[in-house]
Assembly symmetry: C2
Homo-oligomer: 368 residues x 2
Amino acid sequence: MAGTVTVPGSSVPSTPLLKDELDIVIPTIRNLDFLEMWRPFFQPYHLIIVQDGDPSKVIKVPEGFDYELYNRNDINRILGPKASCISFKDSACRCFGYMVSKKKYVFTIDDDCFVAKDPSGKDINALEQHIKNLLSPSTPFFFNTLYDPYREGADFVRGYPFSLREGAPTAVSHGLWLNIPDYDAPTQMVKPRERNSRYVDAVLTIPKGTLFPMCGMNLAFDRQLIGPAMYFGLMGDGQPIGRYDDMWAGWCVKVICDHLSLGVKTGLPYLWHSKASNPFVNLKKEYKGIFWQEDIIPFFQNATLSKECDTVQKCYISLSEQVKEKLGKIDPYFVKLADAMVTWIEAWDELNPSDAVVAAGNGKAAAK
Amino acid sequence: MAGTVTVPGSSVPSTPLLKDELDIVIPTIRNLDFLEMWRPFFQPYHLIIVQDGDPSKVIKVPEGFDYELYNRNDINRILGPKASCISFKDSACRCFGYMVSKKKYVFTIDDDCFVAKDPSGKDINALEQHIKNLLSPSTPFFFNTLYDPYREGADFVRGYPFSLREGAPTAVSHGLWLNIPDYDAPTQMVKPRERNSRYVDAVLTIPKGTLFPMCGMNLAFDRQLIGPAMYFGLMGDGQPIGRYDDMWAGWCVKVICDHLSLGVKTGLPYLWHSKASNPFVNLKKEYKGIFWQEDIIPFFQNATLSKECDTVQKCYISLSEQVKEKLGKIDPYFVKLADAMVTWIEAWDELNPSDAVVAAGNGKAAAK
């Protein structure tokens, strides 16, 4: 078990924030050498590694990290028949890690993501920024033109209603990527050389009623506030679609956060996304999604949740019913997905009996 | 009349963008020495100066600028009894300049705003950035996490629906301020030393359905698309309120842009706001607004415009009726304001008979 770490000459705080309240979830199919670079920032925290693909393969984790690792056999053993809701051969399997975590907060990162540098050349402690984002309120009900009003040196501008300055609890912190931007296959193909070199020094709340494309590469959230909605769907092996796992979660999460008056932030921190995935492989995974999302977006824009939906679980079950009814017409896949959404919630509640009670309490307090 | 200007060693384009299609509107009570600093950027353009306060005072404009100047006597002469809708002893009078302009675009700036520098130390050509913002589309229907997707080096991220990538016409470009932030009186009082030194290198679209505090200090817009909604209300002399002129315009503009599927951007360009206004004077002007806005914001959040409102003028008249009916209950001031909104539209159409026809055409094309 890693203790408090001080790294001479680094900017790592001597007592890492939320050390015992946050898990780092990493889906992978390879040895986790990338953790070496993150050691000063991640070593104090507990890691949950979700091994995708062949369970007989041994994944090497660098020395000194405190971790638990689950492969497909573990998932099947722990969830039994409910394991069907966890994707196989797709990084969507990471959401199993959210489910088995016992912490209040989760940070998830891809294993091809490295430490980025800020414009002054300093290493960015992405996790620390995510924690700051999660621990300060959001402003979903009115837009602040100077971005995050709770940040040092900033505030609410003239004309911002005073009754809204307390903000809303933050459920999600969505970070960004320098170098390889998170593009779809068509954009990758059209702009093979495009790199993101623009460091935008801002964190902002995505306003209520607005959907966004949530990327799972660099993402943190409050499990207690929104965990049961962070389901990454059915992707990969045996499914007609891939690379929409995080998008699906993002749409569901945003609709539920809007309903429960919770905030979703995007912007800082950046990390360094090292490698573009193969656009041809991606196109194959994405192409049905490219069509389907034209119907899925209006569906989520118009989805409504009743007053009775006062917990994340109830909201999510209600969404699953709407998915089955409305999106089921597009393709039988959505009927299967809607069923998997229900299975996911059942599995979540089974593994998190006390969380379910807490969530109910939070939900009641936060519900409109 | 100033011609095309090239300034050796500067970044000013040799053919200024939209030279004959944009007016710069400046409200003032003093000599316009601040223009010296802006000369390389503004000299090619036509200025409309709206002189506030004592019309017998002579306002000096630096040599070489092409301008027209209106004082209160001019406003009274041109508008006759309709001049009652133009505020006196308040920078809200600037909207008279929007009305008499014959150009497609307007940029308005306060006379205590100077040229800011970007992080590399280069002078920022604020007007050029506004023009870029106005000439490229907006993305009000879905949030792009890498900010403006039309900017060099950026694009739409994975998961952004392809049907929405054409974007919407941009009606408004709202710029920001380094040094003195645009704070209300209470915040000025609580944080007298706060300065904005954070340069956020981003332009973003304010999503559909989200209101924002629009500041008139550094603002550009497409007169043909949204001009008739850019009314800065009744402020200053004889009115119970001040410093809500731009806010009022911003709320009306945003509701109408949302209805007509037009975009509103905020972010770059920055300018250097040199001087904080007196917080005690400001508090006196603002204090009724601080209470009233708690009702005004929900009013605008819930305001609806019918399908028949297919021009900005029709939208604005419909809003004025709702203001009278719903906000009139709060204070008789809003009944007077609602009447002034109607007078403003009558005056606008009188001075802009051909614009009215164009606007009707645009409105029809853009209406949902």
